[in-house]
């Protein structure tokens, strides 16, 4: 009918405009949809959208689980489990108890507590894309934490099914277990076969994906379990390379389409907020933005991580998860939670997603401020990484930062038998490089670190982090040592050369020069040269990986 077309036009045109604005300012999508919905809700009353929301939930969950790569979690799983554990026991149970006792009722209390505990992986990945290549410890910790949260949210939905849909808990678990086994069987046997059968055709993989999704959802509805569980296991069946690539690629646009409808409709469901709604939203916001991150940071410090890593990681978790929205809408549709609570959760989620974009942008400064002004620190006895100087430092080289590049330079210096000392603040580095003779565990911004590294007697200082304040600190040091710093931009590099740097490493330039050597070798010296080059490089890589494993 005509109304539907106008509704779709309103949904997409409003969303596109707000997405554009939000992308420019915050690099975020979900709050843009919700706010578009808030505006659109004022003049749209399309019942059909509510039912289409179900499709949005199905596709969002499906794509999420099809993209899950358990391998990614291997770094930082311990810390994440710990911080999640702390949040759930500390925040979740604590607040659940408090809310329950103050008369909110079991279900309402559960939903508010869920909003307090879980943080968002979608927002996490949207914002931290820029960290993806930097392999920072806190980013990995945060990523793992988010995924654990999402999976726990699914488990919570499964556990809530009995309450929402009037089935027994044992029954719900049995159905969930059955779906899990079915999904693993599909993942292991059926889909690899289908993938070959279809000759990797995108269209057929798309149809297979939607068939399975539809089938699992139908089973969920038939057995009285939440469709989220079905969608999750359907995605899981595909979460294996290589066919998840074809599938996610082609299903992404369907997800985008229905997710737009879903998040828009959520916003449209919020009417003019009353006092109760605002109070609940405010409460959730305060806890999610202040209490939860602090608790996370404290638990990470207790696990032996430095103040810096703990605060940075905590700052990426200061929002309410979109999964909470999915959990809440399901309860709302069967009238299991009160309207002000549902609307409060939506408002709080939207607001925290926006505030998280802001805290993310200034997370470096916020972390510095927190480190200086809060009385918390990693307990002395628990600190797992310490400074160690075993040789006399004279005419040595100081290496600031020991990531891939720093390590490679370190290896070379060791090969040349040249004395050097490493300054780094990342504990992971020291975890993996027990054999370093001299290392200073501390910030390059601290004078103490430099004194320990005996910078006045050094011959050369090489700094690999690109942060300007670190480079400027080094350029200001009073020493005769040659100073080599790093920058990501030519403009900044040029300025540093003028400020007295002896050389500025610009990765793009260095890498391009080196790559050019290789490409020219390959182009001009033919197949034999390529073969030889490849052999040398593979051997070198193997050696490096072996030495890492030891």
């Amino acid at each position: 009918m005509i109304g539907v077309i106008y509704t779709f036009a309103t949904v997409f045109v409003l969303s596109a405009v707000l997405l554009f604005v939000f992308h420019k300012i915050f690099k975020l999508t979900i709050p843009a949809y919700i706010i578009a919905g808030l505006i659109g809700g004022m003049f749209l009353t399309e019942e059909g959208l509510l039912e289409l929301m179900q499709w949005g939930i199905a596709f969002v969950v499906f794509i999420f689980s099809a993209k899950l790569e358990p391998g990614k979690l291997k770094h930082g799983i311990g810390g994440s489990l710990l911080s999640t554990g702390a949040q759930i026991t500390g925040l979740g149970l604590g607040f659940f108890g408090a809310l329950y006792l103050s008369g909110f009722g079991t279900l309402n209390s559960i939903y508010i507590s869920a909003a307090l505990v879980f943080s968002s992986s979608l927002v996490g990945t949207e914002l931290s894309e820029k960290y993806a290549t930097v392999e920072l410890l806190y980013a990995r910790l945060a990523e793992a934490t988010d995924v654990i949260h999402d999976i726990l949210a699914i488990v919570l939905i499964l556990l809530l099914s009995p309450v929402l849909f009037n089935v027994g808990i044992g029954y719900a678990l049995a159905v969930g277990g059955g779906m899990f086994i079915l999904s693993l069987a599909f993942r292991r046997f059926l889909f690899p076969w289908l993938f070959e059968l279809s000759d990797h055709s995108e269209e057929l993989m798309l149809l297979s994906g939607i068939s399975l999704l539809g089938g699992m959802i139908a089973i969920s509805q038939f057995t009285g379990i939440s469709i989220v569980v079905g969608a999750f296991f359907a995605g899981l069946a595909f979460s294996r390379f290589p066919y998840n690539i074809e599938l996610v690629e082609s299903m992404e646009s369907l997800k985008d389409f229905f997710a737009a409808v879903f998040f828009f409709s959520l916003g449209a469901l919020v009417t003019f907020p009353g006092v109760a709604t605002l109070a609940i939203a405010l409460f959730i916001i305060v806890v999610a933005v202040f209490v939860k991150p602090l608790l996370t940071a404290l638990s990470l410090m207790h696990y032996g991580y430095s103040k810096r890593t703990a605060y940075r990681c905590a700052l990426t978790l200061d929002q309410v998860s979109e999964f909470v929205l999915i959990i809440a809408i399901q309860a709302y549709l069967v009238s299991a939670i009160a309207a002000p609570i549902f609307q409060g959760i939506i408002l709080a989620t939207t607001v925290t997603m926006i505030t998280t974009a802001i805290t993310d942008r200034y997370s470096g400064r916020i972390q510095n401020w927190l480190s200086k002004n809060l009385p918390f620190d990693t307990p002395e006895g628990l600190r797992r990484y310490n400074t160690r100087i075993t040789t006399e430092l004279n005419n040595h080289i100081i290496l600031v930062g020991y990531d891939v590049q720093g390590e490679k330079i370190g290896d070379y210096l060791r090969e040349c038998d040249r004395e050097f000392v490493v300054i780094d603040v990342n504990p992971k580095v020291f975890e993996e490089t027990e054999d370093l003779k001299n290392r200073v565990f501390g910030s390059a911004m601290d004078d103490e670190s430099w004194e320990t590294a005996n910078f006045k007697q050094a011959d050369m200082i090489i700094s690999t982090p690109p942060q300007r304040h670190i480079s400027e600190k080094i350029l200001a040091l009073e020493t005769d040592a040659r100073k080599v710093v790093r920058s990501n931009s030519f403009k900044e590099a040029n300025r540093m050369l003028k400020q007295g740097a002896d050389y500025v490493m610009v990765h793009d330039l260095l890498a391009a020069e080196q790559l050019m050597d290789y490409v020219e070798e390959a182009i001009h010296n033919g197949e034999k040269a390529v073969e030889n080059m490849r052999k040398t490089l593979v051997e070198r890589l193997k050696k490096e990986m072996d030495s890492l494993e030891e």
Binding site: F20, E51, E203, K408, L509, L515, M533
Partner: protein
Amino acid sequence: MFDIAITEGLFITWDFVLLIAVATVMGYIAHKTYQPNLIAYLITGLILGPVFLDVVQETALLELMSELGLAFLLFLLGLQLKFDAIRNILKPILKISFWQTVLQTSLAFVIYYFLGFAMIEVIVMALCTVFGATPVIVKLLDEKDEINSLPGKIDVGVLIVQDIILVVYLTLFSAPDLTNPVPIAINFFQVMGVMAVLGVFSYAVSKWMVPKIVKEVGNNKHLLFVNGAAWAFLFIAVSLALDVPVEVGAFIAGLGLAQSPYSDELKQQVKPITDFFMMVFFATIGLGLAPEYLTVYWKEAVVASALLMVGNFLIMFYLIDREKFSLETSFLGSINMVQVSEFSLVVGALAVTRGLIGNEIMGYLSLMAIMTMGLSAYIIKYNHWIYDHVKHLFEFMESEEKGDFDIKTLDNHAIVVGYNEITRRLIPVLKEKYGDIVVIDKDPKYVEMLRKSGAEFVFGDLKHEEMRRSIGLKRADMIVSMAMDNAVNRRILGDRKEGAVVFLRARDREDAAELYDLGADFVIIKRMLSAEKMNEYIESFLENPDLFDKAVEGDKQIIDWEARL
């Protein structure tokens, strides 16, 4: 066309699940028997509908999705029409299309008249069944890597003109009163006027505003898609408000965007969702047919299909040949085009709702679509084989003055995936060695910059199979990829030809090791490359600090120079 009431019944139901499941199975069968998916979906509807099992009803959900399917189909169709692609053969194309439309419509008219159909049916059917099926031809030729050959280009060009004519037909059938020529004419000119205004608006926006918007959102696929969908729905809503067929609005929305260099990626984004909705659309046509509709005219359908396939081939062959293309080009170009367009069903469905034809004609059209598309799929697949076996029959037509002009295809070229500081320096070196070089990037902001450097720039993502084909990945001699996404890199290694040199970029050592295992020649880890070069400088420092100063002097000059840019 949007006259269904949708307030409820949009939940995912067993009916719907059954429909997709059967469509999926039929899709696999079609794939294995080299048949177009369209046929699989039509047959899915026939199986589940009253013709065979009668287990699935047309629900509000199916109706909504098939309406969306039609709108997206037209949007995608418009999005695919790049006038640039046929610019150098535009003149012969226009001549061929014009005469082909006239001659084939006349032929169809005569055939249907003698088969004894009523006059209004004859007119509708003749208009419906003269054109080739774009999705079938484009998909099959693309899979055979013949879409950029000369016969392929001629076919695509003719299809573009045909599609535009079909959209005009849609407007004709939307006239309020079809018995009187005056209101038809008035309606026609009204619609044409609106189309022209929308078209100019669409083109102007895509020329002046789209580049700016795309520059902001271009590397964010999600935003690109939502913007595209918003654009399509905006045009659909405006058409609805102005009483123009919504399909026309969707088509023009796509057509305007198609002329911008950014349309390829959007096309890839829109295609899957269109495939899905279209599946529902064609299945719904099957669902709507009762058994008796199919049996009334089945003999006529067989006779007409046979006559039209032969007749259309001869007409096309004559017309292409007349433009003095080589014998092979004329033969292949015409034999690819012998099927009936899927639009016969779209226009047919519209004619049914307008009460011009009955459901038995719709059954007839479905049968014809299934038969001609099914057969032509094999004809296209074996077109060269057929040509080799019958070319002696046509040799009398060969003459000195006929011949093809060269169409540039990419071969033994270099491909650079991802444009950045590192690859920017490589481009001149690669250009000198390989001549042709294609740069593909997910970020559109380099279009202008690269145009100047003599490299061809493609905006898009290699994860799409069509994208890999269109840059000739399988024929490249040298591939340098800066994509740190191992999924893309694995694809490159899977598709590359033997002997091609492949440089890939990896995030870390684990990824690098995997890529070497899969056969990469060289795996770049940027920080390691950079460290290697840095170690060269340190080596000179350890030898003598003055040597270090000399070694880095060149770099310092480059930094100074770059900083000024």
